[in-house]
């Protein structure tokens, strides 16, 4: 055997031993403090060793590949997915097919599947909204779920107290989301990135704690039940018909979201966001109001969360503060990061994949969160651009387009 291979095996062995040692107390020993017995799970140690042996080899291989790419200094060009996405002859029929699939979906599959799909699409909407804040404006918002909660509680409470219907509350939820976005965003906009993350996290938790403790307002941990689904012209629909109807609503909302975000990216405001992410000081020197631009991103992102919240409340018919923990924010962040920050297609794929896979892979459910954690780390280390890296559509100037104004 030649030396490099031997060397690799040695390194892998060291990694295996290290991780076997590291995970020994927590993976192997399980004490039962009531019966005062100890369960020695030596098998776990074996699994850890074998896993670490191979994974560490993969880890080193990937790191080397990444380094090589960086040294070569050439951007590896567009990935296959991006190339396919840019070919119009492919992307248009694909979009049409996807739309057809989305339309017939509830008629092909059971109500259970439709419900799962509704959840996934709510996450798509949340991901796209958070993408405005994180992907475009570069602000890490860890309290995003608070705006989702605002929307959900807006529908539940307005319906409970005033009997307002889904369609009335949907824009109200979006509006309230935006208002909260501005209220919470305003004091923290001067903060640098990592402080912003912690403070938004704090705000998110504050809202949850208030919802949990202010019984007179939010009914505390018991939550609010019997939230109605949207009505269709006062028709008396069956539960399955209502679910299908809600499904179409969320599909339309997702299409609407994609449309709006697309337009925004190509606008004066979208450019300001990207510039702000690139260089804040230069951005201000160009006359861009930093606070206002960030606030816009915050408010717009929160609007989608607010509307998503209304749909969520209508879907589950029951909400309580437990649905709006910080980890929910992290899951949404995870869908954005995994899919590709800034990329609309990426975020949609990321959300669908990360939400649907755990639903369909049996026994995988309990590993959901630990996988999300690993996904965040691995993505950042090896593929910070996400599965579908965002290649920003730049404005392409064509000669002959201008009338040569002299200002």
């Amino acid at each position: 055997m030649n030396m490099p291979v031997l060397n690799e095996i040695k390194k892998s062995l060291i990694a295996a031993i290290w991780f076997m040692f590291l995970t020994f107390p927590i993976m192997v020993i399980k004490v039962n403090t009531i019966t005062r017995t100890i369960d020695w799970r030596w098998k776990n140690m074996m699994y850890t060793g074998i896993g670490a042996f191979f994974l560490s080899a993969v880890w080193r291989y990937m790191l080397r590949r990444k380094e090589k790419n960086q040294n070569a200094l050439e951007k590896e060009g567009l990935s296959i997915v991006q190339k396919i996405l840019q070919v119009k002859t492919f992307s248009i029929p694909a979009t049409v097919l996807l739309l057809i699939f989305a339309i017939v979906f509830p008629h092909l599959f059971s109500m259970h599947q439709t419900n799962i799909m509704i959840s996934a699409l709510i996450y798509v909407m949340l991901g796209l909204g958070l993408n405005i804040v994180v992907g475009l404006a570069g602000l890490l918002d860890l309290g995003y779920v608070a705006f989702f909660a605002v929307g959900a509680y807006a529908y539940a409470l307005l319906n409970l107290h005033f009997g307002l219907g889904f369609w009335t509350v949907l824009p109200v939820g979006g509006f309230l989301g935006a208002v909260f976005g501005i209220l919470l965003g305003y004091p923290v906009l001067r903060l640098r990135g990592d402080y912003l993350a912690i403070v938004t996290l704090g705000f998110g938790e504050i809202i949850r704690i208030i919802l949990e403790n202010w019984n007179e307002f939010s009914f505390g941990p018991a939550g609010i039940a019997n939230i109605p689904k949207p009505e269709l012209f006062g028709l008396d629909l069956s539960l399955s018909a209502k679910t299908i109807y809600l499904y179409y609503i969320i599909v339309l909302l997702v299409i609407f979201t994609v449309f709006v975000i697309n337009r925004l990216t190509d606008s004066r405001i979208g450019r300001a966001w990207i510039a702000l992410k690139d260089d804040e000081i230069a951005c201000q020197a160009m006359g861009i109001d930093k606070a206002k631009t960030k606030l816009r991103a915050f408010a717009l992102g929160a609007t989608w969360a607010g509307m998503g919240g209304v749909v969520f409340a209508a879907k589950t018919a029951f909400i309580n503060p437990a649905s709006f923990t910080i980890w929910e924010s992290v899951i949404i962040l995870c869908t954005v990061v995994a899919g590709g920050m800034g990329s609309i297609v990426g975020v949609i794929c990321g959300a669908l994949l990360l939400i649907l896979l755990p639903e369909y892979l049996r026994d995988f459910g309990q590993f959901r969160m630990i996988t999300f954690g690993a996904v965040l780390v691995l993505m950042m280390v090896f593929r910070p651009g996400g599965m579908i890296e965002n290649v920003r559509r730049t404005y392409q100037f064509k000669t002959g387009e201008t009338n040569d104004i002299h200002s």
Binding site: M27, V188, D194, G202, I326, M380
Partner: protein
């Protein structure tokens, strides 16, 4: 106002503050060196507490006497926390040394999520009772109605750790290298300091203090679970920011200010909104004095 009640609140606040201080040190040291918030720091503290619990239970069941159990459990907890801290840095931070801050922050959050669920899956999601590792000292009996022996040990241990850490940073070679690295990484490496090694050492030292904090608080409250690290971690971070992040005396001061004011707040105002209070302090301090109590103002270079 009932003076005894107030005294109890103040002592409770000091205990709380000590724990925050032990954890805040890790944040502030790491921040001082690589200007990053180690989001997974609270998880290291939780892992320390779990290791302590597992080792002490095993040893007790094998009939080891009390002091031996305390010693070995504490040693194991600290060593394991250090190893986890070291590994964490190698996996989630080192490959991202030149990446944008946003990436590192996301990676750190991922690590936090990972550790939490790792303990949750390998152990349990329920609360586990934690044995009282600290005995009720004979000599302290007369005063124990004012302050329990555990509280005394927490405060004294914190003080000792602070002094040792200050000595380490002020007077040892490693301490000097740490200070140099925090000022200018490139210059430090040109002067022959192994920057990567210094960063590792910083993570290890920070993890050790976190583990000590984890053990102490666990024997104080008598129970632990996999989620215990997150909130305490955030609060310790608040303490570090309050004192001026990057400054070690600042972290200690901030921790005591936060501990005391939180204790008084829960005692006199509301215990439901205890956590809200900490976050409000964070928001206020960041808006009005982002450099913290002891931090220096930073002028951005243009």
């Amino acid at each position: 106002m009932n003076p005894e009640y107030l005294t109890a609140l103040i002592l409770g606040g000091l205990t709380r503050g000590s724990i925050y201080a032990l954890i805040a040190l890790g944040y502030t040291m790491v921040y001082g060196i690589i200007q990053l918030i180690n989001f997974a720091h609270g998880e290291i503290y939780m892992i320390g507490a779990f290791t302590g619990l597992i080792v002490s239970t095993v040893l007790t069941m094998h009939g080891m006497p009390g002091f031996g159990v305390v010693f070995f459990a504490a040693a194991a907890a600290i060593i394991y926390a250090c190893c986890y801290g070291y590994t964490l840095e190698k996996i989630a931070y080192k490959p991202l040394r030149h990446a944008p801050r946003l990436s590192v922050l996301i990676s750190a959050i991922g690590m936090s999520l990972f550790f939490q669920n790792y303990v949750l899956l390998a152990q349990t999601s329920n609360f586990l009772p934690f044995p009282g590792l600290i005995p009720d000292f004979e000599f302290w009996k007369p005063y124990s109605h004012v302050m329990s022996a555990t509280e005394l040990v927490i405060i004294v241990t914190t003080a000792i750790v602070m002094v040792l850490l200050t000595l380490l940073i002020k007077f040892t070679r490693i301490g000097k290298a740490m200070r140099a690295t925090s000022q200018d990484k490139i210059m430090a490496s040109l002067l022959g300091i192994n920057v990567n090694q210094i960063i590792s050492i910083t993570f290890i030292v920070g993890s050790a203090t976190a583990a000590i904090g984890g053990l102490l608080i666990a024997s104080h409250t008598g129970q632990i679970n996999a989620y215990m690290g997150f909130l305490v971690g955030i609060k310790a971070f608040v303490a570090a920011v309050l004192g001026g992040i990057g400054s070690i005396p600042g972290a200690v001061l901030g921790a005591f200010v936060l501990g005391l004011s939180e204790s008084v707040f829960t005692g006199y105002v509301s215990s439901d909104y205890e956590d809200v209070f900490a976050f409000l302090i964070l928001v206020l301090i960041l808006i009005f004095r982002p450099s913290g109590i002891l931090g220096r103002d930073q002028t951005q270079k243009v």
